[in-house]
């Protein structure tokens, strides 16, 4: 044997801090909790479970969900999308808390915005305009604007009526989680532009014909627009934009105020992910973005974590055991036991892979505290299921040797 050679130092594996969920939701200074992350990682369930837990610990909570699974909505007694917070029955109210939940109705929220901000004689005209109808229900990003708007409204209502002291929000299931933050800015930069003025020019001069358009000092644009979309369509677009103009100012101001509210103390973001490559990559983008924008990040919720229920039996041991039993002429019992060992091996394998992925996340984001929720065999469909999840969110995963 040669003299012992020095190799490279081993890599440090960072263990994340555990996210102290009860402290977060129990702190009266916590007023808004936003659950964000890519689609299909359990954002809505996380929001609902945290809302329930906070309510049962004595807080007055409203949960704003965007697009819940049917059974999850039913578990909170939500049967329709009506934009009104409904009291959730069946929660433990001994501690004096209460839980309300609502589903966002994007179109209704937009209509209400028009009703509140437009000049009364224009309301009907806007609501009936074909462009408005298309805009309010189909525009990519509208859901983000309206979720922000609704959050702002709930927050105002809470303050005015001294009602809810905690708002839990589930962000829209956009593919890009950052859309939620960017949508209000995008709208703002459009409204700052000259184009709103160009567009509303023909309608302003409608009585005097389209010649007024050219007179607006933006003749080339007017001509091109005229050529592309034709006079009638241009006039309709223009009437729509001008009618909306009156509410734009108010809307934009509100969007900016809501954005600023997100940066205030009392607001906390929870990034939700599953221990999979793509979901964790999205989560990392989101964490970086929040830090860049000085948005307060409470931590990462890792859903669907798989852990073996038998910690003492390793992956290789299980594989070897299954092979030993799975031989020609083996009894039914042995073959069945071999099957159980294969299931355990698969579970251990998945667990190890997830572990590696979450270690990688923590190495690059060591300051992010993590709450882990196990993968459950069944979808959540009642309050008991939400309570179970909230227990994991607060106390972590069950220990491996406990089969219950």
């Amino acid at each position: 044997m040669p003299a012992q050679r020095k190799g490279p130092p081993p890599l440090h594996v960072h263990a994340p801090d555990r996210l102290d969920m009860d402290r977060l939701i129990g702190d009266p200074a916590t007023r808004i909790l936003l659950c964000c992350g890519s689609g299909g990682v359990g954002k809505t369930t996380t929001a609902a479970a945290l809302g329930l837990r906070a309510a049962e610990q004595g807080r007055s909570v409203v949960v704003l969900t965007i697009d819940p699974a049917r059974r999850l909505a039913q578990s909170m007694g939500l049967t329709e999308l009506d934009n009104i917070p409904r009291r959730v029955e069946g929660i433990g109210e001994e501690s004096g808390g209460e839980l309300f939940a609502m589903m966002l109705d994007m179109k209704r929220t937009f209509d209400e915005l028009v009703e509140t901000h437009a000049e009364p004689e224009r309301v009907e005209q806007i609501l009936a305009n074909p462009f408005y109808q298309s805009l309010s229900s189909s525009l990519a990003g509208t859901q983000e604007y309206m979720a922000m708007e609704k959050l702002g409204q709930l927050s105002e209502q809470a303050r005015r009526e001294g009602r809810w002291d905690l708002i839990v929000v589930d962000t829209p299931p956009s593919r890009n989680a950052l859309d939620f933050l960017d949508a209000p800015h995008r709208l703002g930069s459009f409204l700052d532009g000259r184009f709103v003025r160009v567009l509303s020019a023909p309608a302003r001069g409608a009585g005097r014909g389209l010649g007024r358009f050219v007179g607006a000092g933006l003749g080339i644009v007017g001509n091109i627009m005229h050529k592309i979309v034709g006079a009638q369509l241009l006039l309709e677009v223009s009437m729509f934009v001008q009618a909306l103009d009156s509410i734009f100012g108010g809307f934009r101001e509100r969007a900016e105020r809501t954005y600023a509210m997100l940066q205030r103390p009392g607001t906390h973001f929870l990034v939700v992910a599953a221990p999979e490559r793509d979901a964790l990559r999205e989560a990392a983008y989101f964490v970086d973005r929040l830090q860049q924008d000085s948005m307060p990040l409470a931590g990462l919720v890792l859903n669907r974590v798989v852990e073996p229920r038998v910690g003492s039996l390793g992956l290789e041991q299980a594989v070897a055991g299954a092979e030993r039993l799975h031989v020609d002429g083996a009894s039914h019992a042995d073959l069945a036991a071999a099957g159980a060992l294969r299931l355990h091996a698969e579970r251990a394998r998945t667990s190890a892979r997830q572990e590696r992925l979450s270690e990688r996340f923590t190495s690059s984001h060591p300051s992010v505290a993590v709450a882990r929720v196990p993968a459950l065999a069944d979808d959540v469909h009642d309050l008991e299921g939400l309570r179970e999840i909230s227990g994991y969110l607060a106390h972590g995963m069950p220990s491996a040797v406990d089969p219950g």
Binding site: S38, G141, G193, I224, A279, R324, G339, A377, D379
Partner: protein, 334 residues
Amino acid sequence: MPKPQQTPPLELDGVRLHVVSGKGGTGKSTVAGALAIALATGGGNVLLVEVEGRQGIAQLFDIPPLSYGEQRIAAAPGGGTVYGLAIDPEAAMLEYLEMFYNIKRGGAVLKRVGAVDFATTIAPGVRDVLLTGKTGEAARRKAGGRFVYDAVVVDAPPTGRIARFLTANHEAAELARVGPIKNQADTVMNVFRSGQTLVHLVTLLEEMPVQETVEGMQDLASQDLPMGAVVVNMSRPPMVSDEEEHDLALMDDAQFADSLRRADLEFIAEDPPALAGLRAEFEDYRTRRDLEEQERSKLLELHHPIIELPWVPEGVDLGTLYEMAELLGDQGAN
């Protein structure tokens, strides 16, 4: 893995445009990429189009980000070629203006006053009109009397928006009523509603994605849009046989412990909580399989072609993408 089921086979004769949609997180980009390779297998040119500005094609095919323009991204087995196009709505709009209105310099003016930005990000539906218009154009494009692409595959917006995405041109035609916008919009709608187009929906065997698939199919049907296959993605093969499952459920603890001793796992056999843990893992597995079967039967009730693709534990890379393509081909997507 594909099971012999009573679903109709996938008919692709005459289909030149494949629209791949699905709930977020179901892997529709992966399926779209694999489908492009499958369709190019054995020769031919296939264009893979992405419309959401995420550079998903580049990520999937492990190449640098695509600039606006069709470029060769991969070779398919048997001599075919896959081209990629990441449609940029702004560039598509300027191209559209030039193509249909012969407006060249005007485009820059429109851009300066924010009209292009308005049209591509704020104005309702315009973005979708541009994206689908460009896609339809690629599918129809001919050179020397022959189609340039034998097939076009679109990595489309998610299920919840797909019917609206594809009918944006119909709405545009309604709003415009006459003129070049209407003509162009009508042409695009004709491509979507003819036998040249199929919409494939990607799902997982989970409650939400299946629910969205069922609803998405209703939306498509109500808009006269042709539904192709339901692609069940990330499907996990059974880990134990039906017989083993049956026996395991009936076996008592003493028998189980005996078997574990024969497996040289004495220490587990002697440890009741560990024994119970193994059984609980089996129960978890059964619960999950039962739920998956429930969701699968909902899909079978739709009486549409079903294609299954397996779960890839480590995540899909370029190698597994080709394996997926082969599996798609085996199940009729070729």
